[in-house]
Symmetry: C2
Subunit: 167 residues, 2 copies
């Protein structure tokens, strides 16, 4: 387990009463290079073969994905909440832990790694993965920093999945 | 002028009728390393002295700021829309081109560079700069990718301001 776990803050009752929010802000503020280095090292080197893009899920996923894209000299692609992207987009609806929403993405092609900051129910990352396929990309891997998923057994088809910090 | 300008898309009537939206998606998708390299090179080396953090404005500012933070081995700090950050935050309200909103940020200290993707009226970057000061940071520089400001003469006190692509 990464030593970065000790910098994750526990914030009770956010965003709602009864929810324990785990905040990675201190990690990205004061240990950002280590975080990106450790995330990069998690991914099996073969997985990066022919990968062209790192996709980040709005909003905090953008920061993680963009830094990883920069490290690997790859492109960055945003997966956004509905109505934010101009032009022709694909959309996938999904259930959130606290409601429902939709993600949108531009069409394209090539191998892509999908990144988010936190995995809770897995609904957002599953929708993002479906969206990547629907838009024409091939998913090389799915990655998150913080894994809150029950039993930590998230999966999407046979796509390699990595998480750095699990609870 | 950067050669990256030719990859910026013009999308008429987004997000509203009569607005010409300039979309940097193709730049961050297929020329991300060049973009971050050019942004980094824009900033006078003296400006980076003692800088500890790069702050990005939600959402696309996150991607630019995080990649620049990674390049310089600095920390990343998010400046978010209201209600998104847990714990104690400072808030600054501002007028948007199409309405009004508020930005929030955690308190802290140290030298910081403030980054956004697009400068339109300058309202968002001005609010972000005020917020950085209100939370205890010292602003070393303000940076954006795309500058749509009338006459391109945005300024905030005597803080060095840089933009890569101007219209």
């Amino acid at each position: 387990m990464s030593l970065l776990k000790k910098y994750v803050l526990e914030i009770p009752n956010f965003p709602k009463e009864g929810i324990m929010f785990r905040d990675i802000s201190p990690v990205i503020k004061d240990h950002f290079s280590s975080l990106i280095q450790e995330l990069d090292a998690l991914i099996h080197p073969d997985v990066f073969k022919d990968v062209q893009y790192i996709a980040g899920i709005e909003s905090r996923g953008f920061a993680i994905a963009a830094a990883l894209a920069h490290k690997r000299n790859l492109g960055f692609i945003p997966i956004r909440k509905k109505g934010k992207l101009p032009g022709k987009v694909a959309q996938v609806k999904y259930d959130l832990e606290y409601g429902s929403d939709a993600l949108e993405m531009h069409y394209g092609s090539g191998k892509i790694i999908v990144v988010d900051d936190v995995l809770a129910t897995g609904g957002t990352l599953t929708a993002a993965a479906q969206l990547c396929e629907q838009t024409g990309f091939t998913i090389a891997s799915i990655l998150c920093v913080l894994n809150l998923h029950d039993l930590n057994n998230f999966s999407y088809k046979n796509v390699p999945f990595y998480s750095l910090l699990t609870y």
